[in-house]
């Protein structure tokens, strides 16, 4: 049994976690109490993250034949993908990465695109734009000590280790206001005042005076969802005129870092990219994640080919034409940049399965075959 430090890959908070390697299998997690972000506390998604390595692993490339994915082999799949890319003009090819890809993987993806003249490339970050470093971003400790907290989204449930800091503030008497689509949530139940909305854009455009009046001292606006990139600017306006800080909680572990390499696409931008191409290389995104919603999935149907590189296989990935296994975060050294911009390195915990190659190898091999 060997325990190793890692970073939780399940959301952008960046909690530390110990993974337990027992007989060369990752069998569980153990609290990492010395970690400065979460002190050994993790939510269920975090503690279950080890299952991403063991239960979902697949190591044989798949290709579609008569509408069904079948097992293939590395050479066949690499050759077919290269041929497909060669048979289209570069402006009909797109690449979509995700916030699950590490910084190092995103760099490889970016270089591959640049070397091969592929310009339609980006990362879908759920309507969050690249975080402007000039903006006053609150760090986590500032939430514990805030004088007023305003929340958009069910942060207590969805990002519990920021939720924890909100309840610490609340226990000290800090007023907590929140807003969301639902009638009720754990976050609303732990707020002093709750506002239900049907649209974030509409809510922000008529921002309630009752909230505006509450800002004082070290106030923080925390939000984990947006409908469009413009919402972000509106929230910054509210923060600026009230001297508050913001804490945007991005959707995935490395959403922040991925935007340092690739253009962030909001939903409309993603839809328009997909409609302008015929071949999509899609990395660590899968339709089941809710990341790609119905509308986006529908648009994907118009493509000629979808080539997926992923660390796990799920049934929802049946829509892809080729799937190449790549390592999960725990099978390679790498780094994430968490939602407050902190670079977090992590080590390889376990060897890659036989037959799985890192993303740089996949792209190297494809590049060799390109015209």
């Amino acid at each position: 049994m060997l325990m190793k430090h890692s970073i939780c890959p399940s959301c952008s908070v960046g909690c530390g976690i110990n993974l337990i390697n027992h007989n060369e299998k990752i069998v569980g997690t153990y609290p990492y109490k010395g970690h400065h972000i979460n002190e050994g506390k993790n939510c269920l998604r975090g503690r279950d993250s080890y299952k991403l390595i063991e239960e979902n692993n697949f190591s044989i490339p798949l290709k579609k034949k008569q509408n069904k994915l079948i097992e293939s082999d590395w050479n066949t799949v690499i050759n077919s993908i290269s041929e497909i890319i060669n048979s289209y003009s570069k402006d009909k090819i797109g690449i979509l990465s995700s916030g699950k890809s590490t910084n190092e993987e995103n760099e490889v993806i970016k270089n591959f695109a640049e070397d091969n003249g592929i310009e339609k490339i980006g990362v879908y970050t759920h309507n969050f734009p690249k975080i402007d470093e000039e903006i006053m971003i609150s760090d986590y400790d500032e939430v514990n000590n805030a004088s007023f907290v305003f929340i958009i989204g069910n942060v207590l449930l969805e990002n519990p280790l920021i939720g924890r800091r909100i309840v610490i503030a609340s226990d000290k008497g800090t007023k907590i206001f929140s807003a969301d689509y639902t009638d009720k949530s754990i976050t609303s139940m732990n707020s002093d005042n709750y506002f239900k909305f049907s649209s974030i854009s509409e809510f922000l455009s008529k921002f309630p005076k009752e909230i505006e009046d509450k800002f004082h001292g070290n106030s923080v606006i925390i939000f984990n969802k947006l409908e469009a990139k413009e919402n972000y600017k509106e929230i910054i306006d509210i923060a600026n005129r009230n001297n508050a800080k913001i804490l945007p909680i991005l959707p995935e572990a490395n959403s922040y870092g991925s935007m340092n390499y690739l253009t962030s696409l909001d939903k409309n931008e993603l839809l328009s990219m997909i409609s302008s191409i015929k071949v999509l290389i899609i990395i660590k995104n899968d339709p089941e994640d809710n990341l790609l919603d119905d509308e986006i999935n529908l648009e994907l149907n118009n493509l000629d080919y979808m080539i997926s590189l992923n660390d796990s296989f799920k049934e929802s990935m049946e829509i892809f034409d080729y799937i190449i296994p790549i390592p999960s975060w725990a099978e390679k050294n790498g780094s994430f940049t968490n939602t407050i911009g902190e670079l977090q390195n992590f080590e390889k915990i376990i060897d890659m399965n036989k037959g799985v190659f890192p993303i740089e190898k996949v792209f190297d091999e494809i590049s060799k075959n390109l015209d």
Partner: protein, 381 residues
């Protein structure tokens, strides 16, 4: 057997130097590994720094020296690790009293075979959460926590050693009065000397450079004798005075503990409204259950609850109610549930308080009573 007292230190100069007080524990572990009496040793070692102790399994005796020394900012628990991953091995495990109590409870539930286990106990006056320790060193010692290379607890003080060799000490009491210091459950912990192990090792009463060891079982006695014979450790007999000092220190600690117990479980125990506030923020993550060394059922009844929506918190009467009904009699107050709760719910206060009420009625002391709790039935747990 009646317990016996010895002072012990490691024969190896290296281990003696690295050890907390004589390196007797490490010396004994080295003996166990070298003679193949055990396949593995489970103990705690520094990962990155003194604030970062994690469980480690050692198979080769050459690697044992790096685990020497006490880490007071490592509130670890090894019960689950032994019962889940290491129950097929001949194993030596180093335990604080809470670890040892967890092992006793798990053994009663047939989670492993005690025959396969050497339990090397450490006396324990408490552990500190790593981040609290860092903040304490900033606030009370006015030092950069990254400059601290060693910490030890002596005569009621936490003494730190800095990179440049300077030492500073502050009384634990003074820090606890201001809400810092040891974890709350440790402040209430009743067992300082783990007399449910094979040997209990500590610095109380020991001469400089030696470990004071209370030998508690025949297995422990043989182990110590054989390790002496094999030249891994040496021993001497402590004076009557030393034994008395140790007893006195234990008594003082128990008195202090009683004071904290009354404060945390009675006078400052959260009100019903406060509990309602706490339950309102439970995100039903099962962290408390999964970390609890007493909760081990594969088929936990909490999984059968129909909590279809996580938009609202679970009903505490059913969710925590199941756990209270199933295991609170056996709660060993290890504090792990509270440590891992993302929502800062003071869970171990609740469980510990109930256990102590139950104890008043039944006399059942978890971690020590040889039988299972009177209300225990296997279907229950």
């Amino acid at each position: 057997m009646d317990s016996e007292f010895l002072e012990i230190k490691a024969k190896s100069d290296e281990i003696c130097k690295l050890g907390e007080c004589g390196g007797s524990v490490t010396g004994i572990l080295k003996y166990l590994l070298e003679t193949d009496l055990v396949d593995n040793v489970l103990t705690i070692a520094k990962y990155d720094n003194i604030y970062d102790g994690v469980p480690i399994v050692i198979e080769n005796s050459e690697d044992i020296a790096k685990t020497a020394g006490s880490l007071h900012c490592a509130p670890t628990m090894v019960g689950n690790l032994v019962s889940k991953f290491l129950n097929d091995f001949k194993l030596a495990v180093v335990t604080k009293p809470c670890d040892a109590m967890a092992l006793t409870e798990l053994e009663k539930r047939n989670r492993f075979d005690r025959e396969n286990l050497y339990i090397i106990g450490l006396n324990c006056g408490g552990t500190i959460m790593p981040l609290s320790a860092k903040k304490m060193f900033e606030l009370f010692y006015e030092v950069n926590p990254d400059d601290v290379i060693k910490e030890e607890i002596d005569k009621g003080q936490i003494i730190i050693e800095l990179k440049d060799g300077t030492e500073k000490g502050v009384k634990i009491d003074d820090m606890e009065e201001e809400g810092w210091g040891r974890r709350e459950n440790c402040q209430r912990c009743e067992t300082m000397i783990p007399r449910n192990t094979d040997i209990a090792c500590g610095n109380w009463g020991a001469s400089d450079g030696w470990t004071f060891v209370e030998i508690l079982t025949e297995k422990g006695k043989k182990l110590v004798q054989d390790a002496i014979k094999a030249g891994f450790i040496e021993s001497k007999t402590p004076s009557k005075k030393q034994i008395e000092i140790r007893e006195k220190l234990e008594k003082i600690m128990i008195k202090l503990m009683k004071k904290s117990e009354i404060k945390l479980l009675e006078t400052e125990y959260p009100s019903l409204e406060k509990w309602e506030k706490y339950w309102n923020r439970c995100i039903e993550c099962y962290g408390c259950r999964d970390v609890c060394p007493i909760c081990w059922c594969n088929d936990c009844e909490i999984n059968k609850l129909n909590s279809d929506s996580k938009l609202t918190p679970p009903d505490p009467l059913t969710f925590q109610g199941i756990r209270l009904g199933h295991m609170s009699f056996s709660c060993i107050n290890c504090g792990q549930c509270e440590d891992v709760c993302p929502m800062e719910i003071p869970l171990s206060r609740l469980y510990d308080r109930l256990q102590k009420k139950y104890r008043e009625k039944t006399g059942y002391i978890p971690g020590f009573s040889e039988e299972l709790p009177p209300l225990y039935s296997p279907e229950n747990e």
